[in-house]
């Protein structure tokens, strides 16, 4: 079956521009996550959705970052007034979260964002 799909796969933007990154989770997965991975580093948690609500936005680096999810499916991560330090791979993951039981996160291949 289809996995987590992210678009675009690569994005080059000028400093100060806004960007939107899209994530299509696996069908039926209620939990959706955004992570950021800088070069040679581990994954940094950004935000978590359960359905359309985001109970944890604690990882968003600044108020320039926002995310939404509609219809319990597609999510968009928006970065306003991009800065060079925003350059990274942005990874989306989904999970068939079952109450009181953890299940693995399934990741997309990410969007590589380069801010020039």
């Amino acid at each position: 079956g289809a996995g987590v799909s992210q678009s675009p796969s690569n994005k080059v933007t000028e400093k100060g521009k806004d960007v939107e990154l899209r994530c299509d989770p696996i069908s039926g997965h209620t939990a959706l996550y955004w992570y950021r991975q800088s070069l040679g580093q581990g994954l940094e948690f950004l935000i978590y959705f359960q359905g359309n609500s985001a109970p944890d936005k604690s990882g968003l680096p600044s108020d320039r970052f926002s995310a939404e999810r509609t219809g319990g499916s597609v999510s968009t991560l928006t970065i306003q007034r991009t800065q060079q330090e925003d350059s990274a791979v942005y990874l989306c993951a989904s999970s068939p979260k079952i109450r009181d039981r953890n299940s693995p996160l399934h990741f997309g291949n990410g969007t590589r964002l380069t801010v020039t």
């Binding site: 399934h106 990741f107 990410g110």
Partner: protein, 113 residues
């Protein structure tokens, strides 16, 4: 700060040998652990998971061992193949925060033919 970390940043093995990748965690409340494999240009791929009520779990050519006494996790890969070359991450979910996966920095495994 992070509570999941790795002892070795790089590991080089010969094809056919067994590989062991280690991971330490500091939060005794962590109750679910996952190993991921990440190849260049791709997202992390799930390998195997283990819950804190288990000490060992086996998959195809992989085994995860959990030692709660010393808060240590390891991934064993049998008969390592060139296709196993990748960065391996351990990750944990802490009890009470049962959705946020916290990742270590990763170990680069290189398999020499």
């Amino acid at each position: 700060g992070e509570s999941v970390g790795l002892h070795l940043p790089t590991l080089s093995v010969q094809e056919g040998d067994n590989s062991i990748i280690n991971c330490a965690y500091s939060n005794s409340a962590s109750d679910y652990f996952i190993w991921y494999k990440q190849e260049s240009g791709k997202g992390p791929q799930f390998i195997i998971d283990i819950r804190s009520n288990m000490d060992k779990r086996q998959g195809q050519r992989v085994t995860v061992l959990l030692n709660k006494t010393v808060k240590h996790l390891s991934l064993q890969i049998a008969a390592t193949q060139p296709g196993d070359s990748a960065v391996y991450f351990c990750a944990e979910i802490r009890g009470g925060s049962n959705y946020k996966l916290t990742f270590g920095k990763g170990t680069l495994l290189t398999v020499n033919p």
